[in-house]
Subunit: 116 residues, 4 copies
Amino acid sequence: MNDLRQIQQRMNEFVAERDWEQFHSPKNLSMALAVEAGELMEHFQWMTEEDSARLPADKLAEVEFELADILLYLVRIAEQTGIDLLGAVNKKMELNEKKYPAHVVRGSSRKYTEYN
Amino acid sequence: MNDLRQIQQRMNEFVAERDWEQFHSPKNLSMALAVEAGELMEHFQWMTEEDSARLPADKLAEVEFELADILLYLVRIAEQTGIDLLGAVNKKMELNEKKYPAHVVRGSSRKYTEYN
Amino acid sequence: MNDLRQIQQRMNEFVAERDWEQFHSPKNLSMALAVEAGELMEHFQWMTEEDSARLPADKLAEVEFELADILLYLVRIAEQTGIDLLGAVNKKMELNEKKYPAHVVRGSSRKYTEYN
Amino acid sequence: MNDLRQIQQRMNEFVAERDWEQFHSPKNLSMALAVEAGELMEHFQWMTEEDSARLPADKLAEVEFELADILLYLVRIAEQTGIDLLGAVNKKMELNEKKYPAHVVRGSSRKYTEYN
């Protein structure tokens, strides 16, 4: 069993034991994920890009938990919609590899922006 | 090697081949992740919670790609900050299990809201 | 002078007195606004739609400040991009009135979702 | 009547004529606002801060509409929660002026980050 599946199962148990399925509609979970994405961004909003790449240890520990929260909600949404997260990611990476051929998009910020 | 690590390595290669590391500061990636979280939410914003749990096939296919995009940016941020995503999630789940004991928080929406 | 302009000028003075223009690139301000939008949403994420329309007084006071924060960043972005906010809103409302003729879109949730 | 009130009234009529109040719970509107905040950010995510301050005309026109959308949803939330937006902003600006005295916080990025 892959580790995304394992996280998903552990979360299923966690939620079931607390009777929290009732709050976990995909709608609500998508809000919760976006709220966490906002909390992640809050750490970086007034930093330069350079500083965001060399966080002090205390910031890093906070960012670590934000990343975890986002992944946990992601896995909950996958569960509640019946989506296979690993399958979705593999499909998307294949698509991206075709959509952005390295020899075409390489080394140009303008192209990057346009393609995305 | 766990599958989060595998996705991360495949993304590293994808980004390196296109010379896109220059755009991938944690600051920029956190914005990109939040943008994708917004796109995910857009599918649900005018739906009832019930409808969000039974998406038609075409919507579901779109949501699948949004989930993939979020995971891909998450993995990029982990890479650029040196955070071990699987480790972070395990740490956070342990913390949550202690913070919200099942027998205390079970079956109460008020408690759920307060605790979160 | 309209009141959006007045808010904008008061904020200009507030920021100048603190020498904070240096942090207020449109890029950073757009992040700050999205972070505040996340904080606003956090109040509603586990509520039903009905409950979100009848907030207790303490919640309402918090929501009030979130709305203020969003407007303040909006006004800062208008300032830093040279956009006339009132003009922009008037233009957009005219556009919406043409794009969604009342007799066509009235009373249908499906249409609402499709049009938006 | 201030212009925020005027926008609010024009939006009230727009929404009533289309029978769209039914979708406009504060919960849903907060999602819609956050989605628009994401669309605004999307314009800036791969730009440098400097470039975000000198947008080409076509980008600027798009950003203008994003700002308008955010303000329109903000005004709708004010309506649906009974919050006086102009009053809220004035209250918040007074608070900020006390919380961040110019002579204390001036000219320090570290202080800015900490205070915010």
